[in-house]
Amino acid sequence: MLDTPETPDTSQWPLLVLMEHFNAWCASARREDFWRDTVEHRLWADRLRDEAKGIIIWLELRGQDDAAAQLDEAMGAFREAVWSFKEACEGVYPANDPGCRDARDAMIDAAGRASGVAEDLDSELPADVWEGFFDA
């Protein structure tokens, strides 16, 4: 019988769930078919913003203002990158435009940084911060 590596259950750790969602978004945005679904990716980015906002609100509610501010700042940079991407790609055939491709890469970088912040915060925050998070 083969040993199957255990996949850690991250579902109880909101920041790790957010990190995974960001990573999935980044992986998808790197693919060439990204250019066919830019609208879908923007909607997906909005869902990530909403998810992150839920965590930020919770952290502030639990008095973790510094942690909330770090995630907030990373999300602000991500929003700005999404905006720059939209500006750079408006009116061009996106896939062939170097400026637009650069903006896509910058957007992926910003998402990667937000993912990293989520992971770092998860390791820094005490576990009991999340008590009650899923009760809403």
């Binding site: 909005d46 839920g54 609100i57 502030e60 509610l61 929003r79 905006w83 009760d135």
Partner: protein, 312 residues
């Protein structure tokens, strides 16, 4: 209580394809503004200051984006103006999460409501009703006529150069107690004391008796500044409801009254007074439960802040 995130969504559903000015002037947006004020004050009286600061900040950013969009006249719809759309959605996400955690916000409150509040003297005032300015002017003339002898007595003291400073002070105090703006508003059952300020007969009384007249601008002095109060679009949205239609005018007056009451609760909560938040929370609870009217809440807040002279 309606969900603020849903209210924002309804406003967007109705006006996403319109320009920012249409959204700002819509009834839906006025309701959003009022509900936001309630939510913000609720957060403060429950001791969640950082969350209150967050929605204040985001609401301010949203209004700024709206103002820029209106001023630029870029012809873009709400949905196509990315800066505005982003600000609206940020605000919507925040209030959505806050609404979903409503119960937890209460249970995690750091503030216990005060068990006792001051009891403003009950004067058996008539119930409030809507007035036209003309009818109110007539009623104020009648009010003055019924108290003509007291009026003349006060005037003779105030106008007499031989009156001592202390008798003038007493006369002024009595004048305020009999003919003050809020006193008349309560005595006649006027929904908005502002209508009394705008009444020419009352302005004449105030001038003769040397009463403080609070014009719109003066009244704001010393109060916490409403976020972006001077933003033109919001003024436009207020004017949009200023019609001859009684129902719309009534709704606008009630909204204004409610916002003023919320400002007073907030002012109390943010003051340095001992047990300020506890008292503000008790007032907010009573207000939300309908146990206190706007006037009662404001009188209580004024007494607690030691400025109940404002209510004379």
């Amino acid at each position: 209580m309606p969900d603020l995130a849903d209210m924002v969504q309804s406003a967007l559903d109705a006006h996403a394809a319109d320009q920012a000015v249409d959204l700002a002037r819509s009834d839906q947006w006025l309701q959003v503004r009022q509900r936001y004020s309630e939510l913000s004050v609720n957060l403060i009286v429950n001791g969640h200051e950082s969350l209150a600061r967050r929605i204040d900040r985001e609401y301010q950013a949203l209004r700024e984006a709206m103002r820029l969009s209106v001023e630029s006249q870029n012809g873009k719809s709400v949905a196509d103006d990315y800066a505005l759309w982003e600000a609206v959605t940020e605000f919507q996400f925040t209030v959505g999460h806050l609404e979903r955690r409503h119960g937890q916000l209460e249970s995690m409150s750091h503030v216990e409501p005060a068990k006792q509040l001051p009891k403003p003297a009950s004067q058996g005032d008539p119930p409030k009703r809507s007035w036209t300015q003309g009818d109110l002017d007539d009623a104020i003339r009648e009010y003055k006529a019924k108290r003509a002898s007291a009026y003349q007595r006060l005037l003779s003291v105030l106008d007499d150069p031989k009156s001592s400073p202390s008798s003038k002070r007493t006369a002024r105090k009595q004048a305020k107690e009999l003919f003050g703006r809020n006193v008349i508003a309560r005595a006649l059952g006027v929904k908005s004391a502002k209508m009394v300020s705008q009444s020419q007969p009352w302005v004449a009384i105030a001038k003769e008796l040397g009463l403080d007249r609070k014009t719109g601008k003066q009244a704001g002095v010393g109060r916490p500044t409403r976020i972006g109060q001077d933003i033109a679009i919001e003024q436009a949205s207020m004017n949009a409801t200023d019609t001859d239609d009684h129902a719309a005018a009534d709704a606008a007056i009630l909204r204004e009254e409610r916002e003023e009451t919320l400002r007073q609760i907030r002012k109390l909560a943010e003051s340095e007074l001992p047990k300020a938040k506890e008292s503000a929370k008790a007032l907010m609870d009573s207000f939300n439960e309908g146990e206190m009217t706007d006037d009662q809440v404001r009188q209580n807040a004024a007494i607690l802040m030691g400025c109940d002279d404002d209510f004379e």
